[in-house]
């Protein structure tokens, strides 16, 4: 692309090369043009790719001290200091005394003893239960020390006879090997004509189009300097919505499209709304502290505002009331009913909606947070979003419920499904819709049912109320490739900046 054009940078570099005969190091060009070497190298690469210049790469190796190496270059190696201390204090001196004399810290002490022993400078023996040191030679010759000194004097290589010392220095992390690539460029003779044409054809051009140029029309006939428009743009961080929030927005859009009205209910509920109105017996295991969060402070019990409704719910539990049910044949406790809990599902919201909307037709949905007394792990969380709703109309049936479930499940992109009879305390009949997911296989995605008369009659509702839910968290996790439920509410900003939910 752009065979006939050069970018401004390419032009500058190429010009510099043409002016000089022969090979030029990249650093020299950089210095000459007042640019960074890496930028020049990248331009040279581009020119070489277009076969305008030849670029040779030579590797050169140099050595430099690490921080630790620098320290030893100045203060001497620990083992040298230890040997000197022993020499000064005399043989059979205790380790502790020698270390103190050599002023070695704990880390250096280990290094010193280890290397002094390996080099055969010092011997360690036990005398009368004490560990003592003994010098084995008159003088300690340390090639490592000489390497450090050489490099510390400003050299970046060492003479060949110190190679062994250099190897040890590198293995001890005192010296590091630095590989530098040297780039040298040269214009290709055969391409000189092309280069000339390229350099003369668009020597200058408009960089920034200004209001003045537009007003005066001076841009007419003038060339525009081309830009490199093939660059892969870097990742940048602008504002963005949370992918899970985008998923929930998408669900809401679908449900509104199907005619559902969004509703709201509080996170803190009385057990009356959370369980009793849903015909969950008061001694049901799901109501125990192992499953349900109790609210204890600053208040632990709430009010039941509608006395008539309360009485109807109580009667349904005790003996079925006027519903034709046997009820639970057990006493009903108002204290339990008033107890405060963090709602364990969104179904109490459906109940609150029905208490205010008793005339058909009605369609309501909610997507919101619920709480279960679970330990946070990859598979369980103490909070989860639920998406559910109800449909109330005259003459609705189990077949209609299955139709709605199928429609909702289809609208989130699932094509294959099957139904299984299900069980929930507040619906009868109950259904579970299983969906064939591309990745997960058959999964349970949409539970549903027809509210029991014990649930609807206390509201004075005699029409059929279909209730449905959808396992939205699971669908979201599958679509984002998330396996760990904790990532639904990810605390990783880098991840959030990268991720999108695509419908």
């Amino acid at each position: 692309m752009n065979e006939q054009h050069l970018t401004a940078g390419e032009r500058k570099v190429l010009k510099a090369l043409v002016e000089v005969d022969g090979t030029v190091p990249a650093e020299a060009i950089a210095e000459n043009l007042g640019e960074r070497t890496d930028r020049i190298v990248s331009i040279l690469n581009a020119l070489a790719e277009r076969n305008l210049i030849r670029l040779d790469v030579r590797e050169s190796v140099s050595y430099r001290l690490t921080d630790e190496g620098k320290q030893y270059a100045m203060n001497w190696l620990p083992e040298v200091r230890l040997f000197a201390a022993v020499k000064e204090l005399g043989n059979n001196i205790s380790v502790d005394q020698a270390v103190e004399k050599a002023s070695l810290n704990n880390k250096e002490k280990g290094i010193a003893i280890n290397w002094a022993k390996r080099n055969g400078w010092l011997g360690i023996t036990k005398v009368e239960g004490k560990t003592v040191l003994e010098a084995k030679m008159d003088e300690a010759d340390s090639p490592v020390m000489r390497v450090l000194k050489k490099l510390n004097e400003g050299n970046d290589t060492v003479p060949q006879h110190l190679d062994e010392g250099l190897e040890v220095s590198i293995s001890r992390n005192l010296v590091e090997r630095v590989v530098t690539k040297k780039f040298e460029a040269q214009v290709i003779e055969d391409r000189k004509d092309t280069i000339d044409t390229l350099l003369t054809s668009t020597t200058e051009g408009i960089v920034n189009l200004t209001p003045e140029m537009i007003a005066s029309g001076s841009w007419r006939g003038a060339p525009f300097r081309p830009f490199n428009v093939t660059i892969d743009p870097p990742y940048v961080n602008y504002g963005k919505k949370h992918p899970y929030a985008e998923f929930n927005d998408w669900l809401k859009e679908i449900l509104v499209g199907l005619g559902f009205t969004e509703w709201f209910g509080p996170y803190v509920e009385t057990e009356f709304w959370n369980n009793d109105t849903l015909f969950v017996p008061q001694d049901h295991v799901a109501r125990e502290v192992q499953d349900q969060f109790r609210v204890v402070s600053p208040y632990d019990h709430g009010d039941i505002l509608n006395t008539r409704y309360y009485k109807a719910v109580k009667a349904v539990h005790e003996n079925g009331g006027d519903t034709g049910s046997t009820g639970w044949q057990a006493p009903f406790s108002k204290e339990v009913a008033q107890r405060l809990v963090l709602r364990s599902h969104t179904t109490p919201v459906s109940m609150r909606y029905l208490s205010e909307h008793q005339e058909p037709p009605q369609k309501m949905f909610i997507i919101d947070r619920n709480f279960r007394a679970e330990n946070l792990s990859a598979r369980h969380a103490m909070e989860f979003n639920q998406c559910e709703g109800i449909i109330m109309d005259k003459g609705l049936t189990l077949r209609d419920l299955m139709g709605y479930l199928a429609e909702i499940v289809r609208s989130v992109g699932i094509k294959k499904m099957k139904f299984k009879p299900g069980q929930f305390p507040f619906t009868e009949p109950s259904v579970e819709c299983f969906a064939k997911h591309d990745v997960l296989g058959w999964i349970e995605v949409a539970p549903g049912g027809i509210f029991r008369p014990e649930v609807t009659h206390p509201h004075g509702i005699k029409d059929t109320v279909l209730a449905w839910g959808i396992g939205s968290g699971r669908l979201y996790m599958a679509s984002m490739g998330i396996n760990d439920i904790r990532e639904l509410y990810s605390r990783d900003l880098a991840w959030l900046r990268r991720k999108y939910f695509l419908r």
Partner: protein, 554 residues
């Protein structure tokens, strides 16, 4: 609940060879799910409404009827044994009820013994609410000297060798050191006297609901005849548990005999009562609820496939006999569901009615969406967090004292209160992202919860939005411009003011309260370095939080 069965045993009970796939499909249509198959073992998940399917016998019975091998009400004839259990005074508050049966000639072997124990455990765990409501004991009938006494006894006088032990222990030691005593002791430990079951020779059968005696209460492969007792606090639950237990043993060839229970007031009760429950359901109701245009024959066929007997009157009323082991038939709708299950969920064609309604979002959702769009336009990244939080984050670290709503049974103190502000959550978020590219601008829109003494559920749940910016240097003027853009974008031009205010979350002299129509509804400022330190944040930050109206209207 998961029920584990041996496949050969299950297939033997069904009496028809079925491939695993067939078995799986049939169970799916009967509400049960196959969880795992390994060798001869099959694990089946049973829904809590079908307590009668907690054993291979119960599952096989349901399958047999569904496949038409043995349809209709299973028959369990009950003969009077003439044996008696005498309930003595003083148990009314402790564990009032007992129901018993004798099952003779039960098939028994090592594996079946384990199965019977499993059923007993499963039933008492779920239906019996961990033995509190009902618990079951099985005994060697031939070793018992009738009548049996059920009476309250001083704990130290209840002395027998508990199941699995050779040495005798008294009641208090059983509760203290026997594993079942430790697990279930709390059911009776608060009472002065404990329930005891003994025969007329003075031998203890058990300490209900804790443990059986190792002598009378240990079934072996030699046992032919079994005495079954269920004690509990709720008579219907006690009877249902007994019915399920004895009918399962009945499926294994046992002949069921009844026992007379004599209560302290002199009343007599003959248990078990396996006479079917009779319910009436109209054809009209069945068709109206299912939407299936079934003929009378189809309805009756579906019901018999679910173990009911049914007869249709000329007026379209069905008289239905319900097996006594079903615990979940409270209302005609429960039978109507079984019509649909018996018909087959795989045969039901879904329909989509034209229930005409106009859908809409909550006005608040629309406002929240507007706020999110405005903040994204200002280059903020949206985050989502848990509602549950910790007092440390909300109060200590953020230098705040606002009251919190607390849960009494948190799983960890990190998630023990409901958040009462979003800003501390954003501070925690950036503290966890110190290494990520700067600048960081994050926001969250969500509900917060504060206590409210007069509210129905004692809380006020407030929709809120908070934003936070951190960088090597931050600028309060930029933040104020952003808040102005946000508020004006919500149509509040001319209605909001920034009123200087000291707030320990922020630097003194660099924070304000946001008012709308002179009502305070938010705050902003530069974060106090003390707070930054508390959260271990290395860069300065500015932030704001604004409460939104629940009805979406300012």
């Amino acid at each position: 609940m998961i029920v584990s069965c041996r496949i050969d045993s299950l297939v033997g009970l069904i009496g028809k060879k079925l491939a695993i796939k067939e078995l799986e499909d049939i169970l799916f249509l009967l509400k049960a799910e196959v969880e795992r198959v390994e060798g001869n073992e099959i694990e089946i998940e049973i829904n809590p409404d079908r307590q009668d399917m907690l054993s291979a016998e119960g599952i096989a019975r349901a399958i047999k009827a569904f496949l038409g091998i043995q349809k209709g009400l299973p028959s369990f004839p009950v003969k009077k044994s003439g044996k008696k259990v005498i309930v003595e005074k003083g148990l009314a508050k402790i564990r009032k009820f007992i129901s018993c049966a004798i099952v003779k000639g039960v098939e028994i072997n090592e594996e079946l013994l384990v199965d019977y124990m499993h059923l007993q455990e499963a039933l008492t765990a779920t239906h019996g609410r961990n033995r509190r409501k009902a618990s079951i004991g099985l005994y060697v009938h031939d070793d018992i000297k009738y009548p049996v006494r059920y009476y309250p006894e001083t704990p130290s006088k209840i002395v027998f060798a508990p199941l699995g032990y050779d040495e005798e222990m008294d009641g208090p030691s059983i509760l203290k050191s026997h594993e079942k005593g430790i697990e279930f002791g709390s059911i009776i430990s608060s009472f002065k006297k404990w329930p005891a079951l003994a025969d007329s020779a003075g031998q203890f059968l058990s300490l209900p609901p804790i443990i059986n005696s190792n002598d009378l209460g240990r079934l072996t492969t030699e046992t032919k005849n079994v005495f079954v007792e269920v004690t509990g606090t709720h008579l219907p639950t006690v009877n249902q548990a007994l019915n399920i237990m004895v009918t399962s043993l009945g499926e294994r060839g046992g002949a069921i005999e009844s026992v007379t229970i004599q209560y302290p007031d002199g009343s007599l009760m003959e248990t078990p009562d396996l006479k079917p429950l009779v319910m009436k359901v109209s054809r009209k109701d069945i068709i109206a609820l299912t939407g299936l245009e079934l003929t009378d024959e189809e309805i009756i066929e579906s019901l018999t496939k679910m173990c009911y007997n049914a007869r249709m009157s000329s007026k379209g009323i069905l008289t239905i006999q319900v097996p006594q082991y079903r615990t979940d038939i409270l209302h005609p709708v429960d039978i109507i569901e079984d019509v649909a299950v018996g018909y087959g969920f795989d045969r039901i064609e879904p329909t989509l009615p034209a229930t005409m309604t106009v859908g809409r979002l909550q006005p608040l959702t629309r406002l929240k969406n507007r706020v999110r769009d405005l903040l994204v336009g200002m280059k903020y990244q949206e985050i989502m967090s848990y509602i549950l939080s910790s007092p440390e984050m909300m109060q200590v670290n953020a230098n705040r004292r606002d009251a919190l709503v607390k849960t009494g049974n948190p799983k960890s103190s990190d998630y023990s209160v409901l958040r009462n502000a979003l800003l501390p959550i954003l501070l925690d978020f950036i503290a966890q992202n110190q290494h990520v590219d700067l600048p960081q601008k994050v926001f969250e829109v969500g509900d917060i919860v504060v206590p409210s003494e007069t509210a129905e559920t004692r809380i006020n749940q407030i929709p809120s939005v908070s934003g936070l910016t951190t960088d090597v240097s931050v600028n309060l003027t930029d933040l104020m411009n952003e808040i102005g853009f946000l508020l004006r974008g919500m149509g509040l031009d001319g209605r909001f003011k920034f009123v200087p205010s000291d707030n320990p979350t922020f630097i003194n002299g660099r924070s304000a309260v946001i008012t709308i129509d002179d009502e305070p509804c938010g705050l902003f400022g530069e974060i106090n370095p003390e707070v930054l330190e508390n959260f271990a944040i290395g860069n300065p930050a500015v932030g704001f939080e604004i409460h939104l109206p629940r009805d979406g209207q300012w």
